[in-house]
Symmetry: C2
Subunit: 274 residues, 2 copies
Amino acid sequence: MEEADFVSGGTRLFGIVGDPIEQVRSPEVFSAAFRRLGRDAILVPIHVRPDDFDVCVPSLLKVQNLDGLVFTIPYKARACGLATTLGAQARVVGAINALGRDRAGRWRGEIFDGIGCVEAFRRRGITFADRRVVLIGAGGAGSAIGVAVAAERPRAIRLFDRDQARAEGLAKRIAEVDPRIEVAVAPPAIDDADILLNATPVGMLSDSGIPVAARHLPDRLVVFDAIVKPERTGLLALAQTCGCTTVFGREMMAGQIEKMVEFFLEPPAGINAA
Amino acid sequence: MEEADFVSGGTRLFGIVGDPIEQVRSPEVFSAAFRRLGRDAILVPIHVRPDDFDVCVPSLLKVQNLDGLVFTIPYKARACGLATTLGAQARVVGAINALGRDRAGRWRGEIFDGIGCVEAFRRRGITFADRRVVLIGAGGAGSAIGVAVAAERPRAIRLFDRDQARAEGLAKRIAEVDPRIEVAVAPPAIDDADILLNATPVGMLSDSGIPVAARHLPDRLVVFDAIVKPERTGLLALAQTCGCTTVFGREMMAGQIEKMVEFFLEPPAGINAA
């Protein structure tokens, strides 16, 4: 009988939980990473409806060969309650996108969106230390990015969100991470900025808009866009035209996946701390 | 980023539920069959402890992209309660090894062990109609085989099990399938038999025993052994030496898997009948 070589009785399971689920790319990417690392593990899509979440997902955690779950829309905040211990990022952001079984069988939660952004910059050799950062968008991704960047000791973070209260909430959390950072909630002025981060959906898919009012960007500015599709958003196109260094959403994605695979396969010491 | 080609966000999930789970071969075999048929579907191992079964498995059925479960030791009888409708075999045997979602979203249960045995014979062009059958073993596999063979209109079935009550229970169920069959509970005499079926574990692994007292088998006898490991049991070796036709456990397995894949992917009309 013909036999598949990518799954066996000994395969360790991981899943991505969301609603809807068809559009996710984690199954392809994580399963390939596990394989490349020689691990008999696979990540599968798990489509759970909101009404079923509270019964269904805790039960999934009882499956003995299930070692981790990724959470996507709309479950990042709700999944927080499943973790026995939360990582440093998740505690501040109040959401997780990864839940992993530790060696003692407890469930550790962490959010890697912001960690992925910082990792993308690290790979490019660009540091946030002492830099003036402008962050547009204080929603799920923006919060995670703001909190992760704050841990990198920037000099200043200027925040903007159409929802003023949301921006102020994030400002407060950033100040808790490191009170030495100059945090301001204000429109995204880029005159004295070193790094511009877009974490809004402006520029996504068929939206050709740009999240800043500027027609020109100074070439010293490093411009990042969290959007993955299209790869080259209107903002990044403008930045390239102006001679700025650009960091792409897919780089954040790659950085995030690498960190999540590490988290799932080799729990780093200390991340269990409650 | 590297991407696996065997799983995606749109993959339909199937699982095999058991305790333990590492030894099962269904993930390799079913996943390969789905792939060969061009279906974006995968079967993964799901290790559920007995204490968790009643909470965990009904929850798994709420996962929207999970379309079917295979049940193995120790859950074949217990899983019966998960089905909304039972197939003809399952109703008589009182156990299922497959649970599939029908087009209306209800769960249909059926047991395929016996169906696989009958299919193996059909592929060889050997019919049970009007034949005298000796069946040794009236446990899980034996019951399923007995009930499936009974539906093929044999002239007689002679049953033996070390547990007399178990053999008598199966005899009664066979009579319910077709009252015209001459059913007897008696030691496995092969003098006037056409087909000998072993559904006991005698001959399994390092057990070199043979489940009949005979040293010689008439060459008109067709001999089947449900055991998969070793492939050539002591009984089958003796049968070959005596010039008998032999049907192997792996042939039953192959027949069963083909029928289960059909059941999972293309619910046949009528199997939903309660």
